[in-house]
């Protein structure tokens, strides 16, 4: 399935990626090949197989509502590029002033 450059741009926007023109072409080709590969699954006859959202054959893997210790402050921030006021510091996203629910 051949993707258009518009498809690539849309996916890039969702992934917050800025691509050069050469990268857009390369991604179009690579993503098209990946989709073709996945598309081969469509050749299988799955009429007799019930749809499933999971392949583990497990259900109801859950736990009791009890509190266990959380990370220490050192553990929390060991990979953080910047920390202030006990928080991770990031650049404010464009157009972002409020929380998303």
């Amino acid at each position: 399935m051949a993707l258009t450059l518009a498809d690539v741009d849309h996916v890039a926007t969702l992934a917050r990626l800025g691509l050069t023109d050469a990268e857009r072409e390369r991604m179009r080709d690579q993503l098209s090949v990946i989709l073709d590969h996945i598309g081969e699954l469509a050749e299988l006859d799955t009429d007799s197989i019930p749809p499933t959202a999971s392949v583990t054959n497990m259900t109801n893997v859950w736990r009791d509502d009890t509190v266990q210790p959380s990370f220490t402050t050192d553990q929390v921030f060991q990979n953080a590029p910047r920390v202030a006021e006990g928080c991770f510091v990031v650049r404010t996203p464009l157009g972002g002033e409020g929380d998303e629910a």
Partner: protein, 486 residues
């Protein structure tokens, strides 16, 4: 073509989406504490709720149970099979890059909420109730002109349920009353605190306007950022008016998201995050689906407490209470429980207990700055005090003093004796006080003797005061009448 707004008959269509935090000890998919409001930032976090690679979530069974309980309280069907899905978007408060939610197979479907609005009973459909996880919180800071955000992940992964209502509401007042009733039910069944100020109960509204004859139909507008019942009502009143004016002026209403600005009392168009609706849902591979057995649903149903509307009706029916008193007594489950313990087996005392509770016990509760579920006296003590009043052993003012002076575990009569509050029925004591009062109030005596029998009220008040508030009213009246007829 421009028409004056008054020439068109408009209809408003409102549907509400509520996000309520599910009341649990731990988070939705990990064992970190779900308490985020009071904890220092990033102290209740781990690999799962920080979204570190390779961390595996495990479902909190209690949260699932609470959502099912909510669904049952709203008359929903609980499908036997459901799954969780990933909703993908990038934002710094969402460390995994996706929110675990439910897409096409939610926990609860097809319910309804019955509520009272302006004295009329209404029913609105509930489309679905599903489970998801909350995001972290961002604090915005200005750093020498550059805007940065501080990320606190304590709230990340706290269980949240989304309750999606059908567009069955026809006015801003109805929307407010629907929310009040929904919040009351969530609190009754212990599924959520419903605390709007703390963000534990949030509402988005979809509102559209059309003409009664269907000739003009406006697009649906989503309103966000309403942080109180009052804000929801005000925002919808504003938006209803705005949309009507646009349609009346022959303009169209674009489908958009608008934010309520409480301080200014207006809604403003929000720049939507680009492609925000391209969430690319897919089944969450880290979480096996859920099979909800009928026996599980039955056990949750059996444990469901009596809901507010039913309880109010029973209070009116069984205790002979007025509708507004029954309403006040059932607003909170804790109040209704307290009232029922106070009444106990003495059903004939219920009305008096209701009066004393709503007026004096609540008054004392407010005076002492107690929360709604902390009562200044024990329920049994309230019953004992009302019993003393009914027996004539305690005057109204004596009962008020007793209410304020009684300590936990004490017997009302014993305290009344110790504090010297028991009513005085001794005619000599009352006669002396009555004579004193009559001498001091010649005008009232003259009024009474001149035919204004109501003047006895003032004389009774003064006489009772002269007995230190303890003179039995019936005895006082009898003695005054006797003296006045001489």
């Amino acid at each position: 073509m421009t028409l004056a707004a008054t020439e068109l008959e408009f209809r408003t269509v409102i549907g509400l989406e509520v996000h309520a935090q599910v009341l649990t000890q731990s988070k939705m998919f990990c064992s970190c504490s779900a308490e985020y409001a009071s904890a220092p930032p990033n102290t209740h976090v781990c690999q799962v709720c920080m979204g570190l690679p390779g961390a595996l979530p495990v479902i909190n069974r209690s949260a699932i149970e609470s959502v099912i309980r909510t669904g049952l309280a709203l008359g929903c069907t609980i499908p036997p099979y459901c799954k969780l899905d990933r909703k993908n978007y990038f934002y710094p408060d969402l460390p995994k890059g996706y929110q675990v939610s439910q897409y096409d197979l939610p926990l609860c479907v097809d319910g309804q909420l019955t509520f009272t609005s302006e004295g009329v009973e209404k029913t609105a459909g509930i489309t679905r109730v599903h489970i998801e996880e909350d995001t972290g919180r961002l604090l915005h800071r200005d750093e020498g002109g550059a805007s940065v955000s501080l990320v606190d992940l304590n709230r990340s992964g706290v269980p949240l349920m989304e309750i999606v209502g059908e567009p069955d509401l026809t006015s801003p007042v109805e929307a407010r009353d629907y929310l009040i009733a929904l919040r009351q039910i969530l609190r009754y069944i212990g599924a959520s605190t419903g605390n709007m100020e703390e963000g534990a109960f949030r509402c988005d509204a979809n509102i559209s306007t059309r003409t009664a004859d269907g000739s003009i139909v406006g697009e649906k507008v989503e309103i966000k950022n309403m942080n109180s019942f009052r804000a929801v009502e005000r925002a919808l009143i504003y938006e209803e008016e705005r949309q009507r004016k646009l349609l009346a002026a022959g303009e169209s209403i674009p489908q958009e998201t608008r934010g309520w600005v409480d301080a200014r009392g207006v809604t403003v168009s929000q720049r939507t995050k680009e492609s925000a609706h391209d969430y690319r849902y897919f089944p969450e591979p880290d979480l096996p689906p859920l099979t909800i057995e009928a026996s599980f649903v039955d056990s949750v149903q059996a444990a469901l407490p009596e809901l507010p509307a039913a309880r109010k009706a029973r209070f009116i029916e069984s205790f002979g209470l007025g509708a507004s008193d029954a309403e006040l007594l059932t607003l909170e489950r804790e109040t209704a429980d307290y009232f029922e313990v106070a009444v106990g087996s003495t059903t004939d005392r219920a009305r008096q207990i209701s009066n004393w509770l709503l007026n004096d016990v609540f008054g004392l509760q407010r005076e002492r700055g107690l929360p709604f579920d902390a009562f200044p006296i024990e329920a049994q003590q309230l019953n004992q005090i009302v019993e003393l009043v009914e027996a004539g052993d305690l005057t109204g003012s004596g009962a008020k003093s007793l209410l304020a002076g009684i300590e936990p575990g004490e017997n009302a009569r014993a305290v009344a004796e110790r504090l010297n509050l028991l009513a005085v029925g001794d005619s000599d004591v009352i006669r002396a006080a009555a004579l004193e009062t009559l001498t001091a109030n010649p005008a009232a005596v003259a009024d009474y003797k001149g035919g204004k029998k109501a003047a006895i009220g003032r004389l009774m008040g003064d006489t009772i005061r002269a007995t230190g508030g303890r003179g039995r009213p019936d005895t006082v009246r009898a003695i005054l009448e006797e003296l006045l007829s001489e």
